[in-house]
């Protein structure tokens, strides 16, 4: 457990200094842990666990957009679990339940426990449709069609810089829509 969390911290440090591969590995590594915890939280609140993937995506977006609040000299896991807990509480509250979220829900997930997503998440996809056209097109192209930033720029006759801006704004407005729905 310790080892796993130290590895996350190292990956996040590399990610912040510009290593995209490390960032990708980190997000892949934390996802099953978040998924298991989201499922446990939903189950405890008497909610169907097949909504867990929406919560996982919510958490991943927050991790991404708030990563500047992580102090690179501190361990990564407590920061991650604080964000995850906040998002899980939000999600359960939105479903109108009294909430019992334990921080240990996250910390206790065993490394071997890697549940696969059960249902395809709908909330991010639904909110995607409400974005301004430019942001939506860029997100669609990069996320769903797996087109690179470079090819997306060529496709829409934009500069790569403009694609990057639209991508980041798109992620930020997507998160705002998910929060305020």
């Amino acid at each position: 457990m310790r080892e796993r969390e130290d590895e996350w911290t190292d990956l996040m440090r590399s990610a912040i200094s510009g290593d995209d591969a490390a960032y990708h590995r980190l997000l892949k590594a934390i996802t099953p842990v978040l998924r298991a915890a989201a499922r446990r939280g939903l189950a405890r609140a008497g909610q169907p666990v097949d909504q867990s993937e929406d919560i996982v995506q919510d958490i991943l977006l927050a991790v991404h957009l708030k990563r500047q609040t992580w102090d690179t000299s501190a361990p990564f896991a407590p920061w991650l679990f604080a964000i995850a807990r906040n998002k899980l509480i939000d999600a359960l509250r939105r479903r109108g339940r009294r909430i019992f979220v334990n921080i240990d829900d996250f910390a206790e997930t065993l490394p071997g426990e890697t549940p696969e997503p059960t249902a395809s998440p709908g909330e991010v996809t639904a909110q995607l449709q409400g974005l301004p056209a430019r942001q939506r097109d860029v997100l669609q192209s990069i996320a769903v069609d797996s087109t690179s930033i470079k090819d997306t720029a060529a496709k829409f006759a934009m500069t790569e810089g403009a694609v990057r801006v639209a991508l980041h704004r798109g992620l930020a407005s997507l998160t705002a829509k998910l929060r305020d729905r």
Binding site: A15, L60, L61, K66, I142, S146
Partner: protein, 212 residues
């Protein structure tokens, strides 16, 4: 969009760097400050006897209290903008201005006074103090909340209240140069009330604005 696709998209955005929160807060406060200063110079202005007032230690102490409030609230605000942070470890910083105030009151008590205690406490500017500090705080509070939106506070209302303390501390620092009531008893009463109003407004606004 499935989760693998989302992860790939977030990775594509890894190059984006948000401003550090300290910088975002500072820039937002600098943008808001002219509005507060405009209110001050249009409606109040520095008191005419400021040069002689500066020789009165109780005049200077007002600035020590308000600046201590602003500085400690800025430090606590930055701390609270982290998701895993709570008031527990840093909250006592906010007691520093209160401590200075208590020391100032005891200092004044030990000195011979020409005016009775209640007269000093009630002063002449209580209404001005209670309106000017909140009015000058409001632009700063909006700025502070805007800057702090970069953060991820666990309790947005608490973070908003501290942002209120921060703006009240800065506004009161400017207001203190106008106010002719220098007794720490006056400061402890009216400045504190005005600050409490701003902190409550900050809590209400922060509960919405600082959610992430």
């Amino acid at each position: 969009m499935d989760t693998d696709q989302l992860i790939r998209t977030l990775t594509a955005d890894n190059a984006y760097r948000a401003r550090p929160i300290g910088l975002a807060l500072m820039l937002a406060l600098l943008a808001a400050a002219p509005v507060s200063l405009l209110i001050f110079f249009a409606e109040l202005g520095v008191r005419p006897d400021v040069m002689t007032a500066m020789h009165n230690p109780f005049f200077d102490l007002k600035f020590a209290v308000t600046l201590a409030l602003a500085a400690s609230a800025i430090a606590v605000s930055l701390h609270l903008s982290r998701p895993e942070a709570s008031l527990r470890s840093f909250g006592w910083w906010l007691l520093i201005p209160a401590g200075i105030l208590v020391a100032a009151i005891s200092g004044e008590m030990m000195m011979p006074q020409r005016t009775p205690m209640m007269t000093r406490l009630i002063g002449k500017n209580s209404v001005a103090c209670m309106t000017a500090i909140p009015a000058m705080s409001l632009p700063l509070l909006v700025g502070a909340l805007y800057g702090l939106r970069q953060g991820a506070p666990a309790r947005p209302a608490v973070a908003g209240a501290v942002a209120g303390l921060l703006s009240a501390g800065l506004a009161a620092t400017v207001y203190a140069s106008h106010c002719t009531d220098d007794s720490p008893l006056f400061v402890a009463t009216w400045y504190t009330l005005a600050t409490a109003i701003v902190a409550s407004v900050g809590a209400l606004m922060g509960a919405r604005a600082l959610r992430y």
